[in-house]
Subunit: 203 residues, 2 copies
């Protein structure tokens, strides 16, 4: 399974999200055609992508929602809970720390760090904001592999360096800069400007 | 130019962002090889994508940063300022309303709406939070085409319906649900779970 192309991997969480919504609607089976209409991905592409996960989707029966959901969770490694370290507890950091969508999807904000003395020691969501000076040690001690950067742009690369040094291998970056990291570290960007500009092209 | 494939369009904002950073570093020329190293996109792909924008990137000279930046801005239609309507002024909405990255990249949060009486009338960033009941009229009157949804999941579809009815044609959705919109409306999703799950596959 490790040879799934990255472009397919990048669609798997989208399929998983759709299947979870479909299950919440009470449906137990879904056709590739119906998935296609919900997602705007062609039914042929969906069938090809999902064929990598075994013999789901028998002709005329549709996909069994529960079994396919479980297979996707397993392959995406979100059939477990990942502890996440959050850096930067401004408005955005607060929103992330309190975001209800994480626990059901495999993630838990386990620690939050800031450099502002007025924030250190305050509570956000379920946790207490800690001093960023102790971040490397705390992350390392707890074996945390996933980080979220919600600092201002000028602090993001330093935060990334510290997290990578401490063992983090997956970074979700909200700061509007490109991060330089070693080859074995993955970075995903959540800069609102990029998707906005993808749409204005068509306006 | 309207026949640029969507997959290429989706990379243009990433090139633009990189060029802006490069200009900020004081460089006036950049090779496809250097861009490739910064972005993790192959130099051949970059040359192919950027060849659609005319005769930039002469052999051995590299791309002229300022001219290519201007061309990308023009093609992405961000050589102007887009007014944006924001729905939902919780922690995330606050972060968006105060986000410093918009004005320099073609966007301005012009209005913000919420249904919470305690929020209506308060100031966030440069603007005053308005009652969501008046959103359709206000958006229509001002001809706003771009919206951001930062409501809870259960309010997002209704917000989208109202915005589309009022003329919005590009939606950036932060709520963790799939939105159903007409074919002539574009939606981009900024759900942190999706990129996190894209990375855990590799952990």
């Amino acid at each position: 399974m490790s040879e799934i192309p990255h472009v397919v991997v990048s669609r798997l969480p989208i399929y998983l999200r759709a299947l979870e919504n479909i299950a919440a609607e009470g449906l137990t089976c879904i056709s590739s055609q119906e998935l296609s209409e919900r997602l705007g991905i062609s039914a042929a592409q969906i069938r090809k992508d999902l064929s990598m996960f075994g013999e789901y989707g028998k002709q005329g029966r549709g996909y069994p929602v529960a079994a396919l959901t479980e297979a996707l969770r397993r392959h995406l490694h979100v059939d477990r809970m990942w502890d996440v370290v959050l850096v930067g507890v401004g408005d955005l950091g607060h929103a992330l720390a309190r975001y209800k969508g994480f626990p059901d999807h495999g993630f838990r904000i386990a620690m939050a760090f800031d450099k502002d003395p007025e924030k250190i020691g305050t509570r956000v969501g379920e946790i207490e904001v800690e001093d960023v000076r102790y971040m490397a040690r705390r992350v390392q001690e707890n074996g945390i592999l996933v980080g979220m950067i919600a600092t201002p742009a000028n602090a993001a690369q330093e935060a990334a360096n510290t997290l990578v040094f401490a063992g983090v291998r997956a970074l979700l970056n909200y700061a509007p800069i490109h991060l330089t990291v070693p080859d074995d570290v993955r970075v995903e960007y959540l800069d609102p400007v990029i998707p906005l500009q993808r749409m204005t092209y068509y306006l």
